[in-house]
C-alpha cells in the first residue's frame, strides 16, 4: 500500500507526468512529438495500473486527449477542422495542450520558489514565535468569557423562538434560502466591521427555515476559520468576529 503512494506522489497529475516525459525525452515543449510522447504516456499509465488498479480519472482523461490530438495530427491538412479566425498556432491540434503545459510549468517553478522561501523562513527564529502572538484575536483574551457551542446553540434557540412566535404556521414557505447564499450574506455583513452582533445576522428573518439556514452558514464559516464567535459577558450579546484580515489584494487585475 505504502509503495504506490510514493509512486503517485511523484506525479502530481497528468500535466506533471507529461512535463517529466518531455524533460526525459529531451524534446521541445513547443514542438512536442505527439506520437512518441503519447506512447510513453500510455506506458506509464499501464505501469501505474499495475500498482493502483484505478488510476485517477484525470490521468485517463489526459490519455484520451493525447490520443485525440494524435489522431487529428494524422489527418491531411486540408481535412482538418479549420477556423478562419484562428491563427496558425491555434490551428495546431497541440496548441491547447502546449499552452496548458507551459502555464503549468511556470506555476511549478513558482511553487519551487515558494518552497525555497519556506525553507528560509524555517531557518530563521523569532524571539517568541507563537501563532497566538501573531494573531491576537485567535489567542485567548482573559477579558472575554469562554464560549462554548452550547452558548451559541442557546442563542440560536432564542432566535428560533422569536421567529416561531411570529411565523404563521399555516403558510407554506417556499425553499428560497440556501446555505451558500447565507454564507454570502454573512461575509458581506462581516466585511464592513470586524465585529458584528450575532442578532444582526437574523434581522429580518421571517421563517424558521431561514434562521436555520443562516445558522448553518455561520457554523460553516466558523469551521472554515473565517469567523469566530465571542461573548463579552455571561448571557451578553454574542459577537461575530472576522478572523482573517482582509486578503492582501495588492494584485489588481491589470485589465479585464
Amino acid at each position: 500500500m505504502s509503495d504506490y503512494k510514493v509512486q503517485l506522489e511523484v506525479f502530481e497529475g497528468p500535466l506533471d507526468l507529461l512535463l517529466y516525459l518531455i524533460k526525459k525525452e529531451e524534446v521541445d515543449i513547443y514542438n512536442i512529438p505527439i506520437a512518441r510522447i503519447t506512447s510513453q504516456y500510455m506506458e506509464y499509465m499501464d505501469l501505474m495500473k499495475m500498482i493502483v488498479p484505478d488510476v485517477a480519472g484525470e490521468f485517463v482523461v489526459m490519455g484520451a486527449t493525447l490520443m485525440y490530438i494524435k489522431s487529428r495530427m494524422l489527418l491531411p491538412e486540408d481535412q482538418q477542422v479549420s477556423d478562419p479566425e484562428a491563427s496558425a498556432d491555434e490551428l495546431d491540434p497541440r496548441w491547447d495542450l502546449i499552452r496548458q503545459l507551459v502555464e503549468y510549468k511556470k506555476f511549478k517553478e513558482a511553487a519551487e520558489h515558494l518552497h525555497k522561501r519556506e525553507l528560509f523562513q524555517e531557518s530563521v527564529y523569532t524571539r517568541q514565535r507563537s501563532e497566538a502572538a501573531l494573531e491576537p484575536s485567535v489567542g485567548r483574551d482573559p477579558n472575554l468569557g469562554d464560549m462554548s457551542v452550547f452558548d451559541l446553540l442557546n442563542a440560536f434557540n432564542l432566535v428560533l423562538k422569536r421567529v416561531d412566535q411570529a411565523e404563521d404556521l399555516r403558510e407554506i414557505f417556499e425553499d428560497r434560502f440556501t446555505v451558500s447564499d447565507k454564507i454570502d450574506f454573512i461575509l458581506r455583513l462581516t466585511a464592513v466591521e470586524e465585529r458584528t452582533a450575532f442578532s444582526r445576522l437574523f434581522e429580518g428573518t421571517a421563517s424558521r427555515m431561514e434562521v436555520i439556514v443562516t445558522f448553518l452558514a455561520l457554523l460553516e464559516l466558523i469551521r472554515l476559520k473565517q469567523l469566530r464567535v465571542e461573548q463579552s459577558s455571561i448571557f451578553g450579546e454574542i459577537d461575530i468576529v472576522r478572523l482573517k484580515p482582509e486578503p492582501t489584494s495588492s494584485i489588481k487585475e491589470s485589465s479585464s
Binding site: E12, P14, E58, Q100, F107, S256
Partner: protein, 221 residues
Amino acid sequence: MELKSLIEAILFAAQRPLSIKEIKVLLVNPAETEESEPTRAFKKTREAEISAAIQELKVDYTQQGRGFQVQEVAGAFQLVSHPQFAPWLKPLFDEHRFHRLSQPALETLAIIAYRQPITRTDIESVRGVMVDGVIQTLLERGLITLTGRAEAPGRPMLYGTTRAFLEHFGLNDLNELPAIEELRRRNLQWTAPTGQPDVNPSAEQTGEPADVEPAPASPTN
C-alpha cells in the same frame, strides 16, 4: 535617548511583527499617558524617521555581524535570528514549530497567489487535477481565504491569499513573488503572435474534452 535604540528595544520585546504605524503609536502615546521629559521627546516622531532608524539598525546588524537581523514581513518588522545559526537554535524549539507545505499545496498556493481572486475550477484547469482537499487544508491553515463569489454560473467561491501566507513565506507583499507581471496574466502567449492578439479562446475549442478548457478571465473585483 536615541530613537534607534528605542525602536530596537520595541522590536526586541514585541511578540509579533510591528508595522511602522504601530511603532509610531507606541512611540507617541506614552507622551500622553505618562508625560515626562523623555516621553515628550518622541511625541512628534514621524513615520519616515522610524523607517530610517530601522534601516540604520539593519545596517548596524550586518556590519557588526550580529546573530540576528531585522526582517520585513507583510509590511511589518521583526527581529529574527540569522538563518546560518538554524542548526544550533533548532533544539530550542518544538520540532513542529514550522509545517512545510506539500508539493500539491505549494502548487495550488502559487496559482492562487498569482491569479487571485480565483475559483476552484480555474485552479484545477491550471493544475490538471482536483484540488478540493488541498483547498480545504490551505483554508484551515489560514493561508487562503474566501474573497467572494465569481459572476459565473453557480456563483463559485473565489479564493485569495492572506497575511498568514505572506508571513509563512517571509514575503513583504505579493509583488515580491517572482515573475508576478507575467504569471498573473491569464492567457499566456507562447510564440510570437502571427496576427492580431488572440482574444478568442473558443477558437481552439473544437470539440476538445471539457477538462482542457482555458481559464475564463472574468475576475470580479
